[in-house]
């Protein structure tokens, strides 16, 4: 007689217990991994994330190679031969080419040295584009750090302790939300730009502007993050596992770091994807208005504003920065959409 190997659980023959036993066999999926899995199912969002990653990595790494690519060409002014290390810098401008704005080959008729053409003062569009993408991403990342740092810190504190801190933060948020956002950013750009320029002048001419943009955009962004985090903290505080830990005497600091913060992941991921979008648009907007990144730095917004100086000029001058900016923004929107669907527990399928 065949004997079926029984699991060594007493009374495991009842169907419910077999079910329980079988369920234990399957590896459980962490909520994080489940969310990532849901996100990967959204093809549009994954493709967009791929495009963003490509653009970011490309614009970060390719300039290292790009400055060594290409033949030596004649400089317009000095008439000397110059290497690509010089003319493939995004800030190099060949002024002698300014009489033929937007021409594809400002450095010589037989060279493909500027793959995307040049601008009216003979700068390489491709190098400027890559530098511009870098600036966009840098500002977006710095704003994220600022946003998540302050938002999570004050959000959890206000949610956990409430009291006067909650009131103060509420009033501050009221003020920020009653401000016309762009106007405040422009004001901060005009006021703080020159100050930060002076502070960071010795390190890097663009760094001051990047810090200023981060502060200006971050200051507007974090109250929203704080509100989300605070709402979630209030919610979590009422849950039984948190109450249990409080009753059993867990100190507040440990409860916040071990019980609250890990459970904020969903909401922080969703809110920060949205705010990345805001910072990219904000940086470009400020640079268009001339209070953000300034020459010799490069930024997508600055390139758009440069192209508007002569509306009768080459359309490629507007096309490339506008195209890249729109691709970045639209892709971040789709990724944000996918992330929200995947991480927001309310829309869980």
């Amino acid at each position: 007689m065949d004997t079926i190997e029984q699991p060594s659980i007493v009374g495991a023959s009842s169907p419910e217990q077999i079910e329980v036993y079988d369920a234990k066999e399957q590896p459980s999926i962490s909520p994080m991994r489940a969310a990532v899995r849901r996100f990967l199912r959204d093809r549009r969002a994954v493709v967009c994330l791929g495009i963003i990653l490509f653009l970011v990595i490309f614009s970060f790494l390719f300039p290292l190679l790009y400055v060594h690519m290409g033949p030596k060409v004649l400089d317009g002014i000095s008439g000397k031969l110059i290497p690509p290390e010089l003319y493939h810098q995004f800030s190099y401008s060949n002024l002698a080419a300014s009489d033929k704005p937007g021409t594809l080959f400002p450095l010589g008729p037989n060279s493909l040295t500027y793959p995307l053409g040049g601008d009216p003062i003979g700068r390489d569009m491709l190098a400027r584009l890559m530098a511009g993408i870098n600036v966009s991403i840098e500002v977006a990342l710095f704003v994220e750090v600022f946003d998540i740092g302050l938002g999570v810190l004050f959000g959890t504190l206000a949610g956990w302790y409430g009291g006067w801190l909650g009131t103060v933060l509420d009033r501050f948020t009221d003020i920020v939300f009653a401000f016309p956002g762009l106007l405040l950013i422009i004001l901060m750009g005009a006021a703080l730009g020159p100050i930060f320029d002076n502070i960071f002048k010795s390190i890097n001419p663009i760094l001051g502007r990047i810090v200023m943009l981060t502060l200006a955009i971050g200051l507007l962004a974090w109250p929203l993050m704080m509100r989300f985090v605070r709402g979630q903290t209030l919610n979590l505080k009422e849950q039984q596992f948190v109450e249990a830990s409080r009753v059993s005497g867990t100190p507040d600091g440990k409860a916040i770091t071990q019980h609250i913060i890990p459970n904020l992941l969903n909401i922080v991921v969703v809110a920060s994807t949205l705010s990345i979008l805001g910072s990219i648009v904000g940086e470009a907007a400020l640079s268009v208005l001339g209070v953000g990144i300034r020459p010799p730095g490069s930024s997508l917004g600055l390139m758009i504003s440069d192209s508007l100086e002569s509306i009768y000029g080459q359309w490629t001058e507007l096309f490339w920065p506008a195209f890249v900016l729109v691709v970045l923004i639209v892709c971040f929107s789709f990724v944000g959409d996918g992330v929200r669907d995947a991480f927001d527990p309310r829309t869980k399928d």
Binding site: R171, D174, I175, A178, F179, L183, I195, Y312, A322, F334
Partner: protein, 339 residues
């Protein structure tokens, strides 16, 4: 033009005043006083931040006003007239003192013009463009959103929501230059086209700015409407209404739509409030002398009284619109109590 062109602005103003009076009657003055106290605090905050930022901005605001042949003594006199020779806290106190008397002072750069007169010319223009765009965006976007929600998961839903997201994502400082370049090309080839930019010469000039703003807002409202409508359509009472035999159309428009309006109103309230600041880039690129154009130019000129004026009317408008939104909640859903 004239009165007729300001008609939408007047209508909105009248509606807002009526709602505030209605709210006063409905829930008593205590609530209104509480809100007023909140507004005073917010006004204090925003004017202070604006003042400090203006104060630290480098450059002399009245240098241009003084002219090319400016002597130091004349400049000193101008500083004195505009209270710029005082320490910062006295400057701010002077400003607050004026504000309490509804006096926003004179512009630093536009000779002899009060801030009120600058706001008075700018705000109606911005409001006219902004409100028209808002109305068109709602008229087109809301039906699209409802339609997409009713047909969730179909090709129409996916396609229209993708287009809406793309339209909503493209910033106006990208779409307007593209429009202008196309217009230039059209005019160079002798094809019919809309004006590139400008204001006040012919009524057709309003078409392009309103269209561009409409496109941006349309995407936003279509998506918002779809999300909330989908939420509502999955509720039990909608299923009950369907189950008891009501037609699909009746359920969507009588039961679902009314409940989906609450988040929509929450979004429209501040949107109307921010209409008074104007759309910065639209006004800048189309050369429209609205308040957005004025305030950006004023920041460039360090004309802080005008910037303060803009900031103040926005803060007031946001507070008033929040009040109005609370009132509308009560009308839409009698269960919601204002506190």
């Amino acid at each position: 033009m004239g009165l007729l062109s300001n008609l939408p602005v007047l209508l909105v103003l009248l509606a807002v005043i009526a709602l505030v009076i209605y709210s006063g009657i409905r829930i008593g003055p205590r609530f209104l006083i509480k809100r007023l106290a909140g507004l005073v605090f917010v006004l204090f905050g925003v004017t202070f931040i604006t003042f400090i930022l203006g104060y630290v901005t480098p450059g002399s605001p009245v240098q241009n006003l003084c002219g090319a042949k400016c002597t130091p003594s004349q400049l000193k006199l101008l500083y004195h007239i505009y209270h710029l020779d005082l320490p910062w806290y006295e400057q701010y106190a002077t400003f607050l003192n004026g504000l309490v008397h509804f006096d926003l002072g004179f512009s630093f750069t536009q000779r002899g013009r009060t801030v009120w007169s600058i706001l008075g010319t700018g705000v109606p223009i911005s409001a006219q463009i902004g409100l028209s765009a808002l109305v068109f965006a709602l008229l087109i976007g809301v039906p699209i959103g409802i339609f997409a929600a009713v047909r969730a998961g179909t090709k129409f839903d996916t396609a229209s929501m993708t287009v809406a997201l793309v339209l909503f994502s493209i910033p106006t400082f990208v779409s307007i230059p593209i429009y202008q370049i196309i217009t230039v090309q059209l005019s160079q080839h002798g094809l019919p086209h809309l004006p590139i930019s400008g204001w006040g010469d012919s009524p057709i000039e309003i078409v392009a700015p309103v269209a561009i703003l409409t496109i941006v807002e349309l995407g936003f409202y279509a998506r918002l409407m779809r999300t909330t409508m989908l939420d509502v359509l999955n509720q039990d009472y909608v299923r009950t209404a369907r189950a008891k035999g009501l037609s699909r159309r009746l359920v969507v428009f009588r039961h679902a739509f009314r409940n989906a309006l609450v988040p929509l109103v929450t979004a429209i309230g501040p949107a109307i409030a921010f209409v008074v600041t104007g759309a910065f880039f639209t006004e800048l690129f189309f050369n429209i002398p609205g308040i957005g154009f004025q305030s950006v130019a004023s920041i460039g000129n360090k004309d802080m009284p005008v910037v303060q004026g803009t900031v103040i009317i926005v803060a007031v408008a946001v507070a008033v619109m929040n009040l109005v939104v609370d009132m509308v909640y009560g009308i839409l859903d009698p269960r919601i109590k204002v506190s």
